[in-house]
Each structure stands twice: as structure tokens, then as C-alpha cells.
């Protein structure tokens, strides 16, 4: 395995940064037209499912008319396209273009997860199962083209079987089936049809496994996006229906073939390059795809620790964890609560959202050392409070703002100034809402600005969602009522959002200056504290 400082590791890192930047740009470009919830690039997994269902439904329909015979196959497909163009023909187009869309969004989804560095560490699981699904999708697509038994099918059949034969593990060369008319029999079609149906079923099972470590996975695109995708698929199907090439004829070579480049882009290479080279390349790429989560392995921070003395079993952390890494288990310390939280380090991405959810993670606590029920050892809530206080002491003048920003969002370097304090979080969702109240009631700043990833693009999936819900007082732990709305802002601007953040800070500062100056703080920090644990 490459050393973390090795050339390979640097190359992967460089590539990742490039891909990430590309996606950031594309996402914000689409953001000009799409509301964040509908942005196609922020819904790639869900779109994958959407197209999968479309391909399945249209596949069932065309199956009714499909005939598995050397000559009947082509004719039955022609019947659909010509005689029953208005339904079977459209279904056939849906089946083809839906499969194309499926492989496009799956490939983009793969690239995006790679760019976001969401394939290493505990995410190897989603990555590996994703690769398996992608291979299965390709197998399904290729066997699909085979079934039509037109010139393209013939081409696919010959090139595929020659490639498989080059392995030399099949007794009878498969390609011999395709050298002359009459060599092929109907059983072959039955076999292909079986593969074409069985493989997507297996893919569906693997997809289910794919989502096993994702809490509340988004498998349905929002209605607006689903409508758009459906209508554009329909428009394409009507304007440019899927058709067959001339029927396969083994007495002649196809010569010229219109390839579906989404599925068959490798075929010209398989044809031209020597088989040992293409096999070696394919195996190398496959092995690379499977091993990239460990090239190099991610250095993970320590997982959150549960402190039973401060855990009352309220299960908020369990409800908020985006990766199903927390389970509620029977009490192990005899305390009179029904349950306690337990973290599975193998599923946990160290986002800290659980700490932000814990009712005991409140900076107001002074009696004991600030130790919430659940906390990240490498960025504990107590350290966040120290940082907030230090920043607060540093600020002066009017329009002072405390910025809480996450590690994956707007870059915060050089943002701090006499009027701007900066506190970094792993994820916006790591911030217990009590911190906002704390900053304002202690006059550490006049306003609080929470910023992070772009809207609907939270790196830890639910950080933005939960933060907004906690601030809106629709999800526990809720922001206290006494926090004035005009002193709290959020800005979901993403990595390209530095300018937007600076503009937001300027406008927020002006708005704060227009408000009456905050009342002097009565309680100096350090005085005997009141225990302000929020009700569970």
C-alpha cells in the first residue's frame, strides 16, 4: 500500500481536488436555474433509483411483446417500434434512454462521491457496493443490446464473445456461435434474456446493501426534479424514438454500427487492441476501483465517546446521526434511564452531529467540567466553548459577529477580524443551539452567523437540515425562545461561497449596528453557574 506521502497518494489527492472543484462549479451553475432541492447534481443517487424504476417498468412492458427466437426477436422489437409506436415504442425508448440516464447519473454520482472524499474511511462500504452495482448495470445494458438481434447486437455479440474467449477458460469458443448463419440457436436468446433480467435484480439487492449504512437515504428525487426528468425522457422518446439497426446477418460483418457510447464506449478498443492488454487494463481498473478507498487509507479522528454520567438515554443523537452509527442499548450503569447511546465506530464518519443533538452539550454548564453525553474527543464541545470565549474576548466595537463554520464549507481562512470571530466545527450540525444563546446572552458577539456547505449539499448529509430545524424550533434540541431572530443568520454557500460570506457578514454587521446596543452582561463568566440543562 502506498505511503500517505507517496506519489500515488498525492496524485489521488490532486485528482480529488480537481473533481471536487468541477462539481462545485457545476452545482453552482445549475443552482442559477434550480432551487437547491431540485438541483440534479445534488440528487444523483435518488435520480439513479428513479431511472432504475423507469427502466424496470418499461422493461416489464416490452417483455410482454418480446419473442426469444433468432428471427422472432428482431421482428417482435420491430413490431413494438413500428406498429405500437405510441405505447410499446415509447416504452422501448424509455427503456433505452432510461438506461442511458441511469449509467450517466451513476457515473456522476461515483465521481461526486470521489471528489467529496466520501469513499474512504468507513464509507468504503458504500463505495464498494456502488462499484458492484455499476458493473452489474453495465452487464445488464450490454445484454440488453444483445437481445434486439440487429447489427449492433451482432457486433456486441462478436466482440464480447471474442473478448471472453481470449481468457481461454470456456471449452467451446463462444464466438463460434456467431461466425455463420445457423450456428446460433434460440436457447442462446433465452439465456441472454435470463441474464438481462436476473442481473438487474441482483443489482437491486446490492443497491439495498449499498444503503445499509446510510440513515434515511434519499431514494426518491423531489417531485419537481422527477417531473423534469420524466418529461424530458418522454420528449426524447417521442422526438427520437429508439430504433433497431438492420437485422443481424452473420453472413456479413456489421461494417458500420451506431454505438450507444454510454454502454459500449470500450468496444472499439476491445476490438482494436490486443486482448491481453484490454484484459489487463480492465482488471487493473477494476482492482483500482475496489482498492481506492485504501489508497491511502483515511486517517480518521477518534469516534465520539459516550459519557454515561451525562447521557439520559433521550435518543436525540440516535435520531440525528446521518450514518446510523448510533444504537440505543439497555443501560449498563444501573442509572434509572431506559437506554444509553452506543456508537459503532465502523459506521461513524466523525461529523459530530450527535454532539450537537445532545441536550447536555450546553455551554452554560459550569458546575462540572463540560462533558456532554456524547462528544468528539478530537473536537470536544468544551474546546468549542473555550474557543468561543476567546474569540468573544478578542472582538470589539459595534456589529461584532461570531461565525461558526464547518470544515467542508466556505473557506474561513483570514476571515477573523476585530469584529468577526471564527469558530470551526466539523459540521454545522455539531453546534448545539445553546451556543447561539450563550454567545448572545454573554455578549460575546452581537450576532451569530452559522455557515457551511451549499444548501442541500451537506457533506455529512443532515448537518444543514438539523441546524435549520433546531433554529426553527421544530427539532430537538431547540433554540431558546429568547434568542432574537434578527441576531442569528445562516448562510449555506459551499466552498465557492467566500464572497457571499463576506457580503453576508457586511450586511449582517450593518443590520446589527442598527439595532440597539446589547444590554451590559450581568453575570461575568466564572461566577457560580446555574445548571441550565434543557429538558429532554
Amino acid at each position: 500500500m502506498a505511503a500517505p506521502s507517496g506519489f500515488g497518494a498525492r496524485a489521488v489527492k490532486f485528482l480529488r481536488a480537481r473533481v471536487r472543484l468541477l462539481f462545485d462549479r457545476a452545482e453552482s451553475l445549475l443552482g442559477l436555474a434550480f432551487p437547491p432541492a431540485w438541483n440534479p447534481l445534488l440528487n444523483l443517487g435518488a435520480l439513479g433509483f428513479f431511472f432504475f424504476w423507469i427502466v424496470t417498468a418499461s422493461g416489464i412492458y416490452v417483455y410482454i411483446f418480446f419473442d426469444t427466437g433468432v428471427t422472432q426477436a428482431y421482428d417482435s422489437v420491430e413490431y413494438m417500434t413500428r406498429e405500437q409506436w405510441y405505447l410499446a415504442g415509447v416504452m422501448r425508448s424509455f427503456h433505452r434512454y432510461g438506461s442511458d440516464a441511469l449509467v450517466i447519473v451513476a457515473a456522476l454520482h461515483l465521481l461526486r462521491e470521489f471528489g467529496q472524499d466520501r469513499y474512504r474511511g468507513v464509507r468504503w462500504f458504500s463505495w464498494l457496493t456502488g462499484i458492484v452495482v455499476l458493473v452489474l448495470v453495465f452487464v445488464a445494458g450490454i445484454t440488453g443490446y444483445w437481445l434486439v438481434w440487429d447489427k449492433l447486437a451482432q457486433y456486441v455479440a462478436v466482440v464480447t464473445s471474442e473478448w471472453l474467449d481470449a481468457l481461454g477458460i470456456f471449452g467451446e469458443p463462444i464466438a463460434r456461435n456467431f461466425v455463420a448463419p445457423g450456428a446460433l440457436d434460440d436457447r442462446f436468446f433465452t439465456l441472454m434474456l435470463f441474464v438481462h433480467i436476473a442481473v438487474p435484480l441482483v443489482a437491486l439487492i446490492v443497491l439495498w446493501v449499498h444503503l445499509q449504512r446510510i440513515a434515511k437515504p434519499r431514494i426518491n428525487p423531489p417531485r419537481g426534479l422527477a417531473c423534469g426528468a420524466f418529461v424530458s425522457l418522454l420528449a426524447l422518446s417521442l422526438a427520437h424514438p429508439a430504433t433497431s439497426r438492420p437485422p443481424a446477418d452473420l453472413a456479413s460483418v456489421p461494417g458500420e454500427v451506431g454505438l450507444d457510447w454510454f454502454y459500449l464506449a470500450a468496444y472499439p478498443l476491445l476490438e482494436i487492441l490486443p486482448a491481453p492488454l484490454t484484459w489487463a487494463t480492465a482488471l487493473f481498473l477494476f482492482a483500482l476501483a475496489l482498492s481506492i478507498p485504501w489508497l491511502p487509507p483515511m486517517r480518521l479522528a477518534r469516534p465520539p465517546r459516550v459519557d454515561l454520567d451525562n447521557c439520559n438515554g433521550c435518543a436525540r443523537c440516535f435520531a440525528d446521526c446521518p450514518y446510523d452509527a448510533i444504537t440505543m442499548v439497555p443501560r449498563s450503569d444501573g442509572a434509572p434511564f431506559s437506554a444509553e447511546a452506543r456508537v459503532d465506530p465502523g459506521s461513524c464518519v466523525r461529523c459530530g452531529i450527535c454532539a450537537g443533538a445532545c441536550p447536555t452539550a450546553t455551554p452554560f454548564r459550569r458546575a462540572s467540567a463540560l462533558s456532554p453525553g456524547i462528544d468528539l474527543p478530537d473536537l470536544p464541545i468544551a474546546a468549542l466553548r473555550d474557543r468561543v470565549e476567546a474569540e468573544g474576548r478578542r472582538l470589539s466595537g459595534r456589529g461584532r459577529i461570531m461565525v461558526f463554520g464547518c470544515a467542508e464549507g466556505v473557506p474561513l481562512e483570514g476571515l477573523a477580524s476585530a469584529r468577526v470571530g471564527v469558530v470551526r466545527l466539523n459540521c454545522a450540525g455539531q453546534l448545539p443551539p445553546a451556543f447561539v444563546d450563550y454567545v448572545l446572552s454573554r455578549d460575546l458577539a452581537e450576532g451569530v452567523l452559522v455557515t457551511g456547505c451549499a444548501a442541500n449539499a451537506c457533506h455529512a448529509r443532515f448537518g444543514i437540515l438539523w441546524t435549520e430545524a433546531r433554529f426553527a424550533r421544530t427539532r430537538d434540541p431547540q433554540l431558546r425562545r429568547r434568542v432574537p431572530a434578527e441576531r442569528l443568520r445562516t448562510l449555506w454557500a459551499g466552498r465557492l461561497g467566500r464572497r457571499a460570506l463576506e457580503a453576508e457578514i457586511a450586511s449582517f454587521a450593518r443590520a446589527l449596528e442598527a439595532l440597539p446596543p446589547p444590554a451590559p452582561v450581568r453575570r461575568a463568566p466564572g461566577l457560580p453557574a446555574t445548571r441550565e440543562v434543557e429538558r429532554a
Binding site: A33, Y97, E162, L236, G255, D260
Partner: protein, 167 residues
């Protein structure tokens, strides 16, 4: 951006996505084989003769064998390689020695070759030796053929049908 422009932008995106999907689903066309050429595909599976002739055992030799292994003769399983030739208008175009398959070299030989030729009239000669002889051939077939552009002429070998089969 005003609301209308945003809707227009979405429309533009969907239109582009559909256009690109529809385009690359069949285009650009791939010229897989030159239009003015024809192809000869030689594909057959045929086992050469056994390498060693069977040795007949004498009666006393059979008696000496363990009871379960008594048999009239002993045959090596290994096969000889095939020699195949294809000549075009008297010119040798393809000569192959095809070893038997299998780890113990007892399986049939497999040949799969493709040749691309300009379309036109040819006199084709096929020869095959499957007996392990060093000189000459056991099978030979000559024929004239007019190859159309893009034609695929398949050459098989089936000894029970008299040798080379043209399809």
C-alpha cells in the same frame, strides 16, 4: 435571477441533457470494418490424432497387470497439433500450427482467425494436417469465390461432413 429566467434555465438544462443522451445513444457511428472489404472467419474445433499409437499388450503382459487395470492396449492421451494453411490465388496467406488444448494436451485444437480482404474474386485453398505428419496434408479443399463487400465467409472443419465446410 428572475423566476421566469430560472424556469427557462431548467428547461434549457433538460433539453441539453435529453439532446446529449439521445445523440450519444447512437452517434457518432463507428466504422467497425472497412466498407469495401470482406472477411474470412476460420473457426473450428477439431482434435488431432493421438500422439502415440496404442501399444497392444501380449497375453502375459495383461495377466501381469493388476486385475482392475487389465486392458488389451495402452494409449497415450496426448494429441498432435494441427497444421492449417490458407492460400489465396496460390499465395500462402495464413499458416498456423494449433496445439491441442488442456493441461495434459489431450483436448481438441481450437482455431479462430479473421482475415480482412478487398472484395473480389479469389481462388481459395484450405489445407489441414491432423495426423501429426511432417509433410503434406490430410485434408485439402479448393474453391473459387466472389467475395462481396462486407461479406463474412465462415470456414469450419467437420470431418464427418468430409472436411472443410464453407458457410
Amino acid at each position: 435571477m428572475p423566476e421566469l429566467a430560472r424556469w427557462a434555465g431548467q428547461l434549457l438544462f433538460y433539453g441539453l441533457a435529453a439532446l446529449l443522451t439521445g445523440f450519444f445513444a447512437t452517434r457518432p457511428v463507428w466504422q467497425q470494418f472497412p466498407k469495401d472489404r470482406a472477411q474470412i472467419t476460420i473457426a473450428f474445433v477439431h482434435g488431432g490424432e493421438r500422439k502415440d499409437a496404442c501399444t497392444k499388450f501380449a497375453a502375459e503382459e495383461i495377466a501381469r497387470l493388476p486385475p482392475r487395470a487389465r486392458r488389451p492396449s495402452d494409449c497415450g492421451r496426448e494429441r498432435v497439433p494441427l497444421r492449417f494453411e490458407l492460400a489465396l490465388d496460390g499465395r500462402l496467406l495464413l499458416a498456423r500450427t494449433v496445439p491441442p488444448s488442456g493441461i495434459s494436451r489431450d483436448g481438441p485444437s481450437r482455431l479462430y482467425e479473421k482475415l480482412a480482404l478487398p472484395a473480389g474474386r479469389y481462388a481459395i485453398t484450405l489445407r489441414l494436417a491432423d495426423s501429426g505428419r511432417a509433410e503434406g496434408f490430410d485434408y485439402e479443399r479448393r474453391f473459387d469465390i466472389e467475395l462481396r463487400p462486407l461479406q463474412n465467409l465462415a470456414i469450419d472443419f467437420q470431418p464427418d461432413r468430409g472436411g472443410f465446410v464453407i458457410r
